[in-house]
């Protein structure tokens, strides 16, 4: 303090005695006290087959180390009739910031319902997928903090699965895991669905090695993969657990199932 009032010459060498006078409000120094996002944990995964698509997600909802509830669905039917979405053929799964996920679901659902009302026919998955991309990109500078996966059947009746990043870049895939345990589940899926690192036995070595040919997977087999993926994820990730919600989309409609997971 003494040095401030000493009248002694500046210690820090030659220079102006005044700093450049600020020309704008000193708002840059004020820190924001409000952060509009949180992570509600959980994981989702989707796999598409020859004539079906399976989506799954755990039902735990967390804030930090707290479990808010053991049952909060992350899978939503889109564009059916009425509040229960009867007769829907598209499913959206969202993981990340649950409030954004909910808002995103409601926007997409409203759009798909209005499409059906105005055109007299349901929206195709491909159209819905592109629309979802546009919704996400529309909030490019204040994004919906979610990883979305959209599932359904394409115009030829084949399983269709689209995955998204929070700002809307998307692609159609065979399988995708998202959320807290995505890094645990995705490598497993690469190996078991797309047969990565699997080769035809005795097909040679080095460049001669032949990759195991990819074949469409049977529905029951895929369901087993999904359940194995989640039971394993529950063991290794604290934000995953409590229950597993599964939806299977086929041309007959959507079948929904619930399987308990460990609650620890």
């Amino acid at each position: 303090m003494a040095s401030v009032f000493s009248g002694a010459p500046p210690q820090s060498g030659p220079g102006y005695s005044f700093k450049q006078t600020p020309t704008e409000a000193p708002s840059g120094t004020r820190q924001h006290g409000f952060y509009p996002y949180t992570d509600n944990g959980g994981s989702t995964l989707g796999i598409s087959g020859a004539d079906f698509t399976i989506l799954a997600g755990d039902t735990r909802h967390t804030s930090g180390y707290n479990i808010n509830t053991r049952y909060a669905p992350k899978l939503f039917k889109i564009g059916g009739e009425g509040p229960d979405n009867k007769g829907a053929s598209i499913v959206l799964s969202v993981v990340g910031f649950a409030a954004d996920g909910e808002a995103l679901k409601e926007r997409l659902d409203t759009i798909v319902k209005m499409y059906k009302y105005q055109h007299g026919k349901p929206m195709s998955v491909a159209a819905c997928a592109q629309r979802l991309s546009h919704i996400l990109y529309g909030k490019r500078f204040f994004p919906y903090y979610v990883h979305a996966i959209l599932g359904g059947l394409d115009e030829e009746g084949r399983g269709a699965l689209y995955s998204y990043d929070p700002v809307g870049s998307y692609e159609r895939e065979q399988c995708r895991a998202a959320g807290a345990a995505a890094s645990l589940i995705m490598p497993f899926l690469d190996n078991q669905v797309n047969f990565k690192n699997q080769y035809v036995p005795d097909s040679g070595s080095g460049h001669e090695l032949q990759e195991k040919p990819r074949t469409p997977l049977d529905q029951n087999h895929v369901l087993e993969l999904v359940r194995d993926a989640f039971t394993s994820a529950v063991e290794r990730h604290i934000e995953v657990g409590d229950g597993l919600q599964v939806m299977i989309i086929k041309k007959e409609g959507i079948m929904e199932a619930f399987h308990p997971l460990k609650q620890d």
């Binding site: 401030v4 009032f5 009248g7 500046p10 102006y16 005695s17 005044f18 700093k19 450049q20 006078t21 600020p22 409000a25 000193p26 708002s27 924001h32 006290g33 409000f34 509009p36 996002y37 949180t38 509600n40 909802h61 804030s63 707290n66 808010n68 509830t69 053991r70 049952y71 909060a72 910031f97 649950a98 409030a99 909910e102 808002a103 204040f142």
Partner: protein, 260 residues
């Protein structure tokens, strides 16, 4: 020597410190709530067979100061809904006015069914999410307790981020850490709810309030408790915590005269 005219006639920075330019600033950016000021602590609630119990103490704190000791944080909306408020008290009072105007709008005509707990929770969560998306949050964590459209118990939460969830037992703030485990021990899941009587649920919630008073420094022993059933809302606003025992404090280091 500074040749910039803005600096002429001003005290030297190196002698008097940098001048606080903010005093010159007139308008500036809009300021929204960056933190809560006067706050209420936990709200706890539990479902039972044919209704729901919800409780919150009557304290509004100013930081660590127990500032207002008679603030009612449970609000009856109608005969089937009670809202419990945690967090900023002025935002709670704003929401109170908002609910008043909603209630008037809803009952303007004589016909129409009243909003149930599920309707109100949906509405309030939209309000909370809208405000967070405007970067102007209502700094609250709400519990909405009551009956849904089928007269079944309904309990759900909405917070300042617009996050929502529902469970057979819920507790906000400190209660999420301290009360929720106690509540969950008795009512672990939805399947357990039909086996819980009203008396058991009330006792359970009172027990949770007591534990919170023992361990939450921003709590107090005067509280409100409401029971919502098909017969309506029974709201008591001046309850005192009963049968407290501080005997446990003896064994805890840091309490009383024991220093370490």
């Amino acid at each position: 020597m500074n040749h910039l005219p803005q600096a002429w006639g001003r005290p030297r920075d190196d002698v008097y410190g940098a001048y606080d330019q903010s005093h010159f600033q007139m308008g500036g950016p809009n300021q929204h709530t960056q933190s809560p000021i006067v706050t209420g602590t936990s709200v706890v609630a539990a479902k039972f067979k044919d209704g729901i119990v919800i409780a919150a103490d009557n304290l509004a704190s100013y930081g660590s100061l127990a500032r207002f000791t008679d603030v009612k944080r449970l609000r009856k909306f109608n005969d089937q809904v009670v809202v419990g408020f945690g967090g900023d008290v002025s935002d709670m009072q704003y929401l109170d006015r908002l609910l008043n105007s909603l209630d008037i709008r809803e009952n303007y005509g004589s016909d129409g069914t009243p909003l149930n707990a599920k309707n109100l929770h949906t509405y309030l969560s939209k309000v909370m999410y809208k405000r967070r998306s405007d970067f102007n949050p209502l700094w609250n964590h709400l519990l909405i307790a009551g009956l849904d459209g089928e007269d079944k118990p309904f309990l759900a939460s909405a917070d300042l981020l617009g996050t929502t969830f529902s469970a057979p037992t819920l507790a906000t703030g400190f209660g999420a850490h301290l009360a929720q485990p106690i509540l969950r021990r008795s009512i672990p899941d939805e399947a357990a709810v039909p086996n819980v009587s009203r008396e058991e649920a009330v006792l359970l919630v009172k027990e949770a309030m007591k534990v919170l008073f023992y361990r939450d420094a921003r709590s107090m022993d005067k509280y409100s408790i409401a029971v919502v059933t098909k017969d309506g809302v029974e709201l008591k606003q001046d309850e005192k915590l009963e049968s407290q025992s501080w005997a446990f404090a003896e064994g805890i280091r840091g309490y009383g005269t024991q220093v370490n």
